[in-house]
């Protein structure tokens, strides 16, 4: 959990200049209950010492701000393909960084990130770690499911 939290914080703070807060009294389910409007979801698979997938969900407003900060572009001129491209890069960096924090002596292979149809968590078996994340520009959710 610490590796995933640190990793997502580093990615969004370093690359998108956003600071995060993780409220102790909120869960991932709260994010989906509260979310209104379009939610973008993306997932990436990983294999190695542990196997599984990471998923990240952001509402339209937040992913526009993330993309604006990431690419240095006006949010109103950003096409949806760039929003998706940015989310794919965010999850790619977050997953890669998580595993280098977790164990830099192990090789973890990452799959190509893919957008999630329906923008709701895809439930799989195994252990689950989930985060409800607050930012100044909206809230997001991150879920990791894995099997050792």
């Amino acid at each position: 959990m610490t590796a995933m939290t640190t990793s997502i914080s580093e990615v969004l703070e370093t690359m998108c200049f956003m600071s995060l807060n993780l409220p102790a009294d909120k869960t991932c389910d709260d994010f989906f209950k509260e979310a209104s409007g379009k939610v973008f979801g993306c997932e990436i698979g990983f294999s190695g010492k542990v196997n599984g997938k990471m998923q990240i969900f952001m509402p339209d407003r937040l992913i526009r701000t993330v993309t604006e900060n990431f690419m240095g572009q006006d949010p109103d001129s950003i096409e949806e393909s760039l929003l998706e491209g940015t989310l794919k890069e965010v999850i790619n960096m977050a997953a890669g960084n998580t595993f280098s924090i977790y164990d830099s002596n192990e090789v973890f292979n990452l799959s190509i990130p893919e957008m999630i149809e329906g923008s709701a968590p895809v439930k799989t078996g195994g252990e689950e770690l989930s985060l409800y994340i607050e930012t100044m520009d909206g809230n997001m959710a991150a879920i990791m499911t894995y099997e050792a």
Binding site: M71, G85, N92, M93, G96, N97, F99, V107
Partner: protein, 142 residues
């Protein structure tokens, strides 16, 4: 004159952020050429004189490792330094990049300071308004 940098990544947002970060790093004047993958990068190298290649590792058609290997087979391209920008964090992968001929690597996420440090290690110190290519004329050996 400025340093001419080829940025190779299949992600438009990532190419954009690499270019923006280099510009904001204070490294010095730089112009940029972009390619979507290793294969496209080799084609672009035939058209432009390049001082540095900054490449991703995981890309469709031709990945960053294969790009480095192909460059090393060419008498001119083999002299161009390559900086790998990657999410790969394992020591094993990093050692493999260097073994295959990369001049350095940067792990994502990265800061402007780190980019500047790596560019300086590879290309040397530059003033804001002058580029590596300015000083390289005497060294050209056609």
């Amino acid at each position: 004159m400025s340093v001419n940098i080829l940025v190779v990544d299949d992600s438009i947002p990532m190419r954009s952020v690499i270019i923006r970060t280099i510009k904001s790093s204070g490294f010095g004047a730089a112009s940029f050429v972009e390619a979507n993958n290793g294969k496209e990068a080799l084609d672009k190298m035939k058209d432009d004189w390049l001082d540095l290649v900054v490449t991703d590792y995981n890309m469709p058609e031709m990945d960053g490792m294969t790009l480095i290997q192909e460059m090393k087979k060419d008498s001119i391209f083999k002299e161009i330094p390559v900086l790998v920008v990657t999410t790969e964090g394992s020591q094993e992968k990093i050692e493999e990049f260097i073994e295959k001929g990369a001049s350095g690597y940067i792990k994502k996420p990265f800061t402007p300071e780190l980019i500047r440090q790596k560019l300086t290690e590879i290309l040397g110190e530059m003033e804001e308004d002058e580029g590596f290519s300015d000083d390289s004329d005497d060294d050209l050996d056609f």
